[in-house]
Structures are given as structure tokens and as C-alpha cells.
Symmetry: C2
Subunit: 310 residues, 2 copies
């Protein structure tokens, strides 16, 4: 398998866009027909409904975008049955040609972090054999515990050419409470960005980007530019586009001159681009995906992407 960033760059070029579709299934927002069909089974029924719903979204978006990002929390909310479904959906997305980012924001001290990391990437080792668990292309990771607690994630990812996205500046309105605190004259999120820079430079792909990316909210255009300035070689994952208020023009500073370097993630605005009673909800999901692709092409460097792939 090729370097994670090279696979990501190739997928973005092949689709001609850098849209990542989040999978954030919520029972109360599912199409009514689907809810009715699975209403008897409690958590297990909800998990089956999530499988059908997200599976159809994967089928709809796989020809259009390079990446999907399932949000672990919504599958965990259905208990073990939800995690069976998460595992199946990750496999289905891979088979449909999508790259997968598992959004788990995992973090722990070194030896425990390794257990999370192997579950995401290299597989859990039992008597010298490795067994894949989530088998994702990338995982989101929270940096609060420091470099030493992030490194087991890099180590496992690098065994099998996967990637890690470290939270730098998140998209929620209250993100700044700690992330913006001034640490010796510069905000905490820039300290984290500096750590990401040194990690990603350890393992650059042929495309010039490393295997450690940064999560930076699409809701903070000014910070995006600052972070890009100090973190040249990292892919940025920008959540918060669409429903959380991020706009296309705001994402521009995240992209580099080659049109690469960023993934713009939209979850709710695509997942729930319909009313529950709509019978043609898949067409609306497709239309919302195409609309997101067009908005971003107009506002960012997607024309550079076309040039750079020629």
C-alpha cells in the first residue's frame, strides 16, 4: 500500500474535489420509511437502520467524493450492535473505493493508546498474528496528553501506511477556552500545530505531504491561515462546513497552491438534506453532495487541482 498522503492526494485528484462526507446517523432524523421498518428493535433496530441509511449514502457518494468520515459516537450510542455496523460500513466504504477517516478523537497514555491505534490501523496482535478491527485509513486523535501519547498512534499507522489527524483548533463555538490561551505569547493551538509539523515531517509522501494531518475548524478562517503558515506539509481536515456555519470562501486558506492539502468535511448538511417523509431522500443527499462540491470548486483552488493533475 502507498503512503497515506499519496493515496489521499491521488483520490482527491481522481474525483476532482476535496470533499469528505461525514456519517453522523441520528435516529430522529432518519427517513421515516426507514425508521418504521426498524422501529421494533430498540438499539439493535437503530443500528440496523444506521447500516441501511449509511450504506446507501456510501453508494450515493462513492463515485463523487474521495473520503468518508464515520463519527464513532453515533455508532457507540447503539452499543455493541452499533459497532458491528460501524465495522461493516468501514469495509463497505473501502470496497466502494472511498478512503475512510474514523472520527473517534481517541487519546490515552502510551501503552493504552497503542491498543486504540492497533484497533484502528495495524490490527490487534494475538499470539504474533494481527487481526484487523476498524481497519480505517485514518483516525482523529486528541493531543492533550502530549507527544508521547500521540506517538503510539503514528507507530501503528506507519506499519500499514495509514494517517492520523490531530485536533489542533476545533470547530465548536467554545473551542477557544483552552485552545486560544496564550502560551508564552502564542495560542495553545499553535503549540499543537508545531508538534504536528514535526510529526508529519518524519514521514512525507511523494506528494510532499506527511501522514499526520491537523483538524482545524472551517469556522475560523483567520486561524486557518495562521495555522497553514506554520504547518506547510500537513493535510488539514476541516469539519464544520455547512451546518456548523463554515462557508466555502473561509476554507480557501487551508488549500495550498497545488489545490491539495485540505479535506472539507460536511456531515449534517449532506446526511440530512431531506425531510424525514421524503421518499427520494437519496437523490437529495446526492444533490447536496454535488452542491457542496460546486461551492468549493468555485471558492477554492479546485482549478489548480485540475492543472496539477494534468
Amino acid at each position: 500500500m502507498e503512503h497515506f498522503a499519496d493515496r489521499l492526494s491521488a483520490a482527491i485528484r481522481a474525483r476532482g474535489n476535496a470533499v469528505c462526507v461525514g456519517l453522523d446517523p441520528r435516529w430522529e432524523a432518519l427517513p421515516q420509511a426507514l425508521r418504521t421498518r426498524h422501529a421494533d428493535g430498540k438499539l439493535e433496530g437503530a443500528a440496523r437502520a444506521f447500516e441501511e441509511f449509511c450504506g446507501r449514502i456510501i453508494d450515493v457518494v462513492a463515485p463523487l467524493v474521495p473520503v468518508i468520515k464515520p463519527q464513532s459516537a453515533f455508532f457507540e450510542a447503539c452499543g455493541p450492535a452499533g459497532l458491528v455496523v460501524l465495522q461493516r460500513l468501514l469495509r463497505r466504504a473501502r470496497e466502494a473505493g472511498l478512503l475512510t477517516i474514523l472520527d473517534g478523537k481517541r487519546n490515552d497514555i502510551a501503552s493504552t493508546a497503542a491498543a486504540y491505534a492497533d484497533a484502528a490501523f495495524a490490527g490487534t496482535e494475538i499470539d504474533g498474528q494481527r487481526y484487523p478491527v476498524w481497519d480505517a485509513d485514518a483516525l482523529t486523535v486528541n493531543p492533550y496528553l502530549g507527544r508521547e501519547a500521540v506517538e503510539p498512534f503514528l507507530e501503528s499507522a506507519r506499519k500499514v501506511q495509514r494517517g492520523v489527524f490531530v485536533l489542533v483548533r476545533t470547530s465548536n463555538p467554545g473551542a477557544g477556552q483552552f485552545q486560544d490561551l496564550s502560551c508564552d505569547g502564542r495560542p495553545l493551538y499553535l503549540e499543537v500545530a508545531t508538534a504536528v509539523r514535526s510529526w508529519t515531517r518524519e514521514n512525507l509522501g511523494r506528494c510532499g505531504y506527511g501522514d499526520v494531518g491537523a483538524v482545524v475548524g472551517a469556522t475560523h478562517a483567520e486561524e486557518l491561515a495562521t495555522i497553514r503558515h506554520s504547518l506547510h506539509e500537513a493535510y488539514f481536515l476541516l469539519p464544520g462546513y455547512g451546518a456548523q456555519g463554515g462557508k466555502a470562501a473561509d476554507t480557501a486558506p487551508a488549500f495550498r497552491e497545488d489545490g491539495l492539502g485540505a479535506l472539507v468535511s460536511s456531515s449534517r448538511a449532506i446526511n440530512f438534506a431531506f425531510s424525514p417523509e421524503d421518499n427520494d431522500w437519496e437523490r437529495k443527499v446526492e444533490a447536496a453532495t454535488r452542491a457542496t462540491i460546486s461551492e468549493l470548486a468555485a471558492a477554492t483552488r479546485m482549478e489548480a487541482l485540475t492543472r496539477s493533475s494534468q
Copy 2:
């Protein structure tokens, strides 16, 4: 159900100690006989072995200590089968009279945080009904995303009288990279401690402690005293005792005059207090638990606990 801190204080008084036994099952460290019995089943076999191993630890320690803390990562490492086992073990511990802290270090933006929180505490809501998922007494939470992202955890916990332990100063050697950064003249971890103080004061129990605690490594005695000074009403959860190098005397600053206010967590030193070929491993786990209780009684304010419960 009573306030979380009151239940915790009562459990500590009833057992006469503040030891929390971590459940950190690792395949390669399990008793050999148990591994042999489950060696055919890959991840599913490992999950079954974890259930048997941790179940027997629960039976051994339930009469001795007030709290157990399963580490989510090791169960996730076995995939969905591991999470079935995690769910069963949490139930078994509760039925054995133990309080349960799920160590997941979860974190996300508000609406997604609510999904994690409901899975841990109030149950996932489907068509107006709540279905319990992990049903833990408390969950560890990472604060990097700020107050607004922690509040959904408090909200769900308070619906059902549960507790939240927020990472303040972790026990890993590299924890200081970000946590010790000086933010306007004081370390980041004290900024987080100040946030914990305001959360926990929102909902104090009759015992005088709130339902939001702080994770503070037992490996940092000097910081413990500083954090206790600015965070009077919070329970401290001290991981890193034993295998990670924390010593009994180092935990003293975490306890208040009433002998309450802290839980000392030991995982590996108790879970793996035997050699894999030992047939009497349960007796060794019991002896290690009793030894931990004695060490802490000698070095901390356990005599105050005895007085305060009279």
C-alpha cells in the same frame, strides 16, 4: 439514586479505603491456562478470555474496594465482541456492589458529545424511550475542546446522578508538553482545574463534593498539592499508582482532612500480580489488592476516614 459524590463517599467509607481497581486486560499477560482455553477464537476468543479474567477479578475485589475502572481501549481492541464483554462486565460489577468508572477519555463537539454521554449515562433515546448502553457511574472526559464540549457530559450525567472525571494532569511522562505550558503565567492544567471547579460547584452532594472530578496523575506529587489547593470540592482520580511509579506517600496531598476526596487507581500492579503460569493467580490478585489498600492506609488519611464514618 443518590448524588454521585455521596454514593462514592459512602462506598469509600463502607470499604474503609479509596482504591480503584483498573481493568486493563492484555492477551499476552493473561494466565496461560485461560489463554489456552480461548486460543482458537481470534478476537472473539480474546474477548471471551477478557470476560472470564475480568469477571473473576471483579469477584475477588468487590468485597475489598469501592470502585473498578475498565479501560475502554482494551475492549475496543477486540472489536464488537470486546464491547459486548465490556457491557456485561460493567453490569456484573454493578451487581457485585462496585461503582464503575468507564475510562474512555471521550470528547467531541456538543451534539456529538451528547451521544457519547447518553451511551455512558442516561441511555440513548429512541422515540422518547431511553435505552442504557454502558450505564457507568462515571466516565473520563478530555477537556481540550472546552467547556461547551464538556457540558453535554454533565447534562446527561446529572439526569441519572452519575459523575464525570475530567483530565487535568495526566500520569504519562510526557504529559507536560501541553499541560504544563504557561498560560498567562500559570500552567494550562490549572486553567482546566479552574473550569472543573466551576462545574463541580454547580452540583455538590451532601458530602461536600461535586459530581465533576479531576484526573490527576499519582506520579506528580507537587502538582497534586497545587491542584488540590485550587480545587477543593472535586474528587480526584489518581491513575498511575504502582506500575507507573506513583507511590503511596505521593498521593497524600490529594486527600482532604475527612479522608475523602480521592480515588487511587491501580491497574497493572493488581491485574498482573502473577506469572502467566501461576494457577493461583486469583489469590495473587487478591493479595496485591490487599497490599495496595494497606500501603495507602499507612501513608494517607485512612485513619481520618475511620473517624469521619463513626
